[in-house]
């Protein structure tokens, strides 16, 4: 278990202010914040690269606030991988092993085992300059995991990879977590937080503004900052099932049709408010999801009106003011909401 208690640190023009949170054993903890919020600084403080001005850090009950970097038992994977360019992949893996106080097993064998686990066995004799971004990320992960760290710190691991690679790496991180690795993952991307995290802390301006389970934080943002940052309106915990060849997500009394390649049945869905279409009467369209509900509130927003309606669950649709006037939308009106199966984004747990 990793605990940060009131960590503060002043830098020129920026400061971490009493940052506190706890990462339990087996957690996939996400530290979510915009660029410059202080996320990476928190990681570097935990790793020992930066010493805090005040506060304490405990790992498994052991105070490590001023402990030497080398003795902390913490693994850090940098955003730009930081794979040593003058060594082969094997050299990189063995470098980490040689630094251990007592090498338990043959280093060559251990490097191969880890390479096998992260599917980089064929890359062992290659130099980093010949590897792709995804391969470098795997090497950086393997190099850190080979030391069996008490906690794995990941600094924006998916920030600079393309969409295809992102889902591959997400699957890999999920796998590493399932194998029992405690992870603290820093990101600016709320989709990553939903997709991977079991707990989330949101950091803004060097301060933790909310902490909780992913569901708590996104469903009940405690501040405008969290709500605005997350930008999520239609966010539901769901259970997937397949009926007549169609994938359905059940949340409360509602079943929503969607398209996904994920196999896990428990997860979250998000539907962008802009993708919801409102009508006063049932309409015949190519969209497959239609629900009738009652308007609970209409709130003017920058780009029109946010209409919240209760259709068994609360949907929020974004419509222009002109459309709202034309449809004569009023609080208490009965309306239909429609959206495509492809507008539903699914994230498994």
């Amino acid at each position: 278990m990793l605990s940060l208690c009131a960590i503060s640190k002043k830098f020129p023009g920026f400061e971490l202010k009493e940052v506190s949170f706890t990462v339990e054993d087996g957690d996939y903890f996400i530290l979510l914040g915009e660029s410059g919020a202080g996320k990476s600084m928190v990681l570097e403080t935990i790793a020992g690269l930066v010493l805090p001005d005040s506060g304490s850090i405990l790992l498994d009950g052991r105070e490590i606030t001023r402990e030497k970097i080398q003795r902390r038992g913490i693994g850090l994977v940098f955003q730009d991988h930081a794979v040593f360019p003058h060594m082969t992949v094997r050299g990189n893996l063995q470098y980490a092993l040689k630094a251990l106080p007592r090498v338990q097993e043959n280093t060559a064998e251990a490097a191969e085992k880890m390479a096998e686990r992260l599917s980089i066995i064929s890359l062992l004799e290659r130099k980093p300059a010949t590897l792709s971004g995804g391969e470098l990320q795997r090497v950086a992960l393997a190099r850190t995991l080979i030391q069996k760290p008490g906690i794995l710190l990941l600094d924006e691991p998916l920030a600079s990879v393309d969409h295809q690679l992102k889902s591959e790496l997400r699957a890999l991180l999920r796998q590493i977590h399932k194998e029992g690795q405690t992870i603290l993952h820093v990101t600016h991307d709320f989709e990553e937080a939903i997709s991977l995290g079991s707990r989330v802390a949101v950091i803004n301006n060097g301060m933790i503004v909310q902490e909780g389970t992913t569901h708590e934080v996104f469903e009940h943002p405690r501040s405008n900052f969290v709500a605005g940052f997350a930008g999520i309106k239609n966010f539901f915990r769901v259970t997937l099932s397949v009926k007549n060849g169609k994938t359905k997500a059940r949340t409360g009394p509602v079943e929503i049709e969607l398209i996904t390649e994920e196999n896990e049945t428990e997860g979250f869905i998000i539907i962008r408010a802009e993708d919801l279409v409102l009508s006063r009467e049932p309409v015949d369209t190519s969209m497959v999801n239609h629900f009738q509900g009652t308007i609970q509130r209409i709130v003017p927003s920058r780009s029109g009106c946010e209409v919240t309606l209760d259709a068994g669950i609360l949907f929020t649709a974004l419509v222009t003011s002109t459309s709202a006037d034309q449809l004569g939308l009023r609080e208490g009106n009965s309306v239909w909401v429609h959206f495509k199966a492809t507008a539903v984004k699914y994230f498994c747990l």
Binding site: L76, F78, A82, F84, A96, T144
Partner: protein, 263 residues
């Protein structure tokens, strides 16, 4: 498709050609006026051969000996901020900007028998004045800025992230220096060593004040010019330039990245 050269292109080409001519013409003139037989005769002179050998080994010794302190110092300058860093950087460049004969006078006071270093040398029977050790000190004094500055640039070019990553992987700061920083800055360091060595070999002003004898080649050239004239100084100069060039090309070739390193 070839584009027509603009007047400005012509201007820059012309100025470049003039500068090249300015460097090449005197050297070429000297080479053309020296016949192969004269060159061979000069090369067979014991005094000349001893002088060239002395110049090479003292400069090499000075470079290697002082690199032990200069390289870690360059790392410190690249990585750490400390009070008066600007002043320290300025001091490093001093030997480049002061007249080298003046540097020789300053060094004479520093290594003479009355000085602390001179007394320490005397205690082990070493007199720096007129000794290869004194020559090496004079050569190092004027050439060490080249090594420090080039190595500092090399270390500055190594991403700090890599050093931090090595630390988080459990490496000690010493191991990080020897396994990450030094190998990654190695090409710059090697360039610095070559520059320091070459600069040391060509030094005259500071060396001639510390040690007229034994004669390093620049002093020998000066002596032959003063005693016998241009005709006798020229073949030694040509021979020394050829050997310096050969060494320079050899070291550059050794420092060149191999094709597998590039990938």
């Amino acid at each position: 498709m070839r584009t027509k050269a603009s007047p400005s292109d012509l201007f820059f080409t012309l100025t470049g050609a003039l500068v090249l001519l300015f460097i090449i013409a005197p050297l070429l003139g000297m080479f053309l006026k020296t016949t192969p037989s004269t060159l061979f005769e000069t090369a067979s002179e014991t005094e000349v051969r001893q002088s060239i050998w002395l110049t090479i080994w003292t400069s090499l010794a000075a470079t290697l000996f002082f690199s032990v302190t200069a390289i870690p110092f360059a790392y410190l300058l690249a990585r750490k901020n400390f009070p008066f860093k600007g002043l320290v950087t300025g001091i490093i460049d001093l030997p480049v900007v002061i007249p080298h004969s003046a540097a020789g006078i300053a060094l004479l006071g520093f290594v003479s028998r009355d000085s602390v270093l001179g007394q320490m040398g005397s205690a082990i029977g070493l007199n720096f004045i007129g000794h290869p050790a004194g020559i090496a000190i004079a050569m190092a004094f004027v050439s060490i800025p080249y090594l420090i500055n080039t190595a500092r640039d090399g270390f500055a070019g190594v991403p700090e992230r890599l050093e931090k990553a090595a630390l988080t992987l459990g490496a000690s700061p010493g191991r990080v220096f020897f396994t990450i920083s030094l190998p990654l800055a190695w090409r710059n360091i090697l360039s610095g060593l070559i520059l320091m060595f070459a600069r040391g070999m060509s030094e005259f002003g500071a060396v001639v004040i510390i040690a007229y004898h034994p004669m390093i080649t620049p002093v020998l050239i000066y002596e032959r010019f003063g005693a016998f004239g241009l005709k006798y100084a020229r073949p030694v100069s040509v021979l020394f330039i050829l050997i310096s060039l050969a060494l320079f090309i050899l070291f550059r070739w050794m420092a060149k990245p191999k094709s597998n390193e590039k990938s």
